[in-house]
């Protein structure tokens, strides 16, 4: 597979997750730190299904995504009525709770020691294929009446409701789709690392994903993907000083918010830049 192949796979996985976060935070304006939990759900579902129940990996990945989506939907219904900060805190609670459950439900998840022996089904073609398909679907979704609805909920939910939008429903939908993407990413991660541990899906992971979206631009899918590439590559290149990694993430988040909150791309897309009217 090679070193470069491994990096591309990791890039694809991160990009799928980050597209989900972009939809939720960048396009629908919901600040959440729950993504790691959905990745964990996807990872463990895929891992357990392939190892213990002989399910084919493709179905296992989809199942992982679906489980994450359903949990996101169920959690979203009562909590997304709340605005901003309430939901953010709830999402942190979610990540921590799921991590706790994973660590303590030893019989199913083998606990904090982790779940080993997962088949390495995430090969380069698999990762790239999933990424391409899901990227195209995300672009489609955003360039549709749903994308307009999400953006309306983000920019002015009051005005959106006065255009007849049931903003609660759209927010939950956005969360569900985002959950699916994170779940699939988690499942692919399980098939790549062949070993998963609860600690891989903690607040730091959520923060990484959020910082990629912020860095790329809240409201730009191409910006998000660009940021994902940059940050993944930089992380790899700077492995020797990885203890500074989190410090730099934090610093970058603050710096961007203070200096250029629009991130790299703002709300523009790379593919729209040439259109000037």
């Amino acid at each position: 597979m090679g070193y470069i192949g491994g990096i591309i796979i990791l890039l694809c996985i991160n990009s799928i997750a980050v597209m989900g976060v972009s939809l939720l935070t960048g396009f629908t304006g919901i600040f959440s730190l729950g993504h790691a939990a959905y990745m964990a759900l996807g990872a463990y579902t895929a891992g357990i299904l392939t190892v213990e129940h002989g399910v084919h990996w493709f179905l296992a990945i989809l199942a992982g995504g679906l489980l994450a989506m359903v949990v996101a939907y169920l959690i979203g219904i009562p909590t997304l009525k709340l605005m901003g900060d309430y939901y953010a805190i709830a999402s942190i609670g979610l990540v921590e709770s799921i991590r706790l459950i994973l660590e303590n439900w030893q019989s199913v998840t083998r606990g904090a020691r982790g779940y080993p022996g997962i088949e390495g089904f995430t090969t380069l073609p698999v990762a790239v294929a999933f990424f391409l398909v899901m990227a195209i679907v995300m672009v489609h979704l955003i360039n549709s009446r749903y994308g307009r609805a999400f953006k309306a909920c983000r920019d002015d939910y009051l005005a959106a409701s006065l255009l007849g939008y049931n903003t609660a429903r759209y927010r939950v939908l956005s969360l569900a789709v985002s959950g699916f993407y994170c779940g699939v990413a988690g499942a692919l991660l399980a098939g790549f690392m062949s070993f998963i541990q609860p600690v891989m899906f903690d607040m730091m992971k959520s923060t990484e994903l959020t910082s990629m979206v912020v860095f790329g631009g809240l409201g730009s899918l191409s910006g998000t993907l660009l940021a994902s590439v940059i940050i993944t590559l930089v992380t790899e290149l700077f492995r020797p000083i990885s203890q500074y990694r989190m410090l730099i993430y934090g610093g970058v988040l603050v710096a961007i918010m203070v200096l250029r909150p629009e991130g790299i791309m703002g709300s523009k897309e790379l593919w729209n830049l040439r259109r000037k009217r």
């Binding site: 304006g29 901003g84 309430y86 953010a88 805190i89 610093g251 918010m257």
Partner: protein, 293 residues
């Protein structure tokens, strides 16, 4: 494990420490209407300053405590000036403040990881932890009683400050309507700095006690998530709510740890959050912010 009385006292003592943190956090929320995720950082700063002062300058808790409170308060003000002020002056999108606060919390935590190392440190035993017998009914540790008393003193001090002082009045006005308070002649930037200073001081007190209880390490700030939950349960923006929520949380945690299982105590905390959000999202005493159309 222990008797009911012991766990109750433990719970109230822990809850009172949570209250110090939750109140500072709720205070900031009531003025700026955003959740300052970096609040945990102030706690850690307080803990480390206390630790280093105690080891370097001898075991005088008053000096160490004073310096740590001062240091945390200043750090809080600096955080606000560096990260939040530029943002809130340019835009009223609280999402940006939220993300910046997340960034600051990571920065603070990791500065300590790099500078102080990730290992757990025990504070020099300046704060007494010996067992105390209460009226022959039960035994508890002097530490629990002390943290309860200290928390009570600080919270009362805060209450007096808010109710009796001029700046306290300004804070109450600003909590009601920040813009109007500014128009009435209150120096909003100074007010916000004062609020952050107070929040930092309170967090530092909590940090010192938590360092003794759990040992000191850079990620100790993560415990503020429980203070956040307490603040939500009590009602974001309400100070009495933060205190009540914290006590409920502390009791729930200790009773669970004492009688059910230590592993489940955190899950109980988050269940409380879920229940609150489902039943009464604005918490016990919270106010719903109304938007003018």
């Amino acid at each position: 494990m222990g008797t009911l009385a012991q766990q109750l006292i433990n719970g109230i003592s822990l809850g009172s420490v949570y209250a110090l943190i939750a109140v500072g956090y709720s205070l900031v929320y009531s003025i700026l209407l955003f959740s300052n995720f970096a609040h945990g950082g102030f706690l850690v700063i307080g803990g480390y300053i206390c630790y280093y002062t105690l080891t370097a300058l001898g075991n005088n808790i008053w000096v160490a405590g004073g310096l740590s409170l001062l240091g945390a308060g200043i750090a809080a003000v600096l955080t606000e000036r560096i990260a939040y002020k530029p943002i809130r002056e340019r835009t009223n999108i609280t999402l940006y403040l939220l993300i910046a606060s997340l960034g600051m919390s990571i920065v603070i935590e990791n500065i300590f990881v790099i500078v102080a190392g990730g290992r757990f440190r025990a504070l020099p035993p300046v704060i007494p932890t010996n067992p105390v017998h209460l009226f022959g009914l039960t035994t508890t540790s002097a530490f629990d009683l002390l943290s309860l008393v200290v928390a009570f003193v600080f919270l009362t001090g805060l209450q007096l400050f808010i109710v009796k002082s001029k700046w306290g009045l300004a804070i109450r006005a600003a909590a009601f309507d920040l813009k109007t308070a500014g128009l009435m002649g209150i120096n909003v930037n100074l007010l916000i700095s004062i609020v952050f200073f107070v929040a930092g001081v309170l967090a530092a007190v909590g940090g010192i006690f938590l360092s003794v209880r759990y040992t000191l390490y850079p990620q100790l700030g993560g415990i503020t998530i429980k203070a956040f939950v307490a603040a939500v349960v009590g009602g974001l923006g309400s100070l009495p709510g933060a205190v009540v929520g914290s006590l409920i949380l502390g009791l729930a945690e200790m009773l669970t740890a004492g009688f059910i299982s230590s592993q489940l105590r955190d899950l109980v905390v988050f269940s409380l959050l879920v229940i609150t959000l489902l039943v009464k999202p604005t918490g016990l005493f919270g106010k719903k912010p109304t938007e003018k159309v």
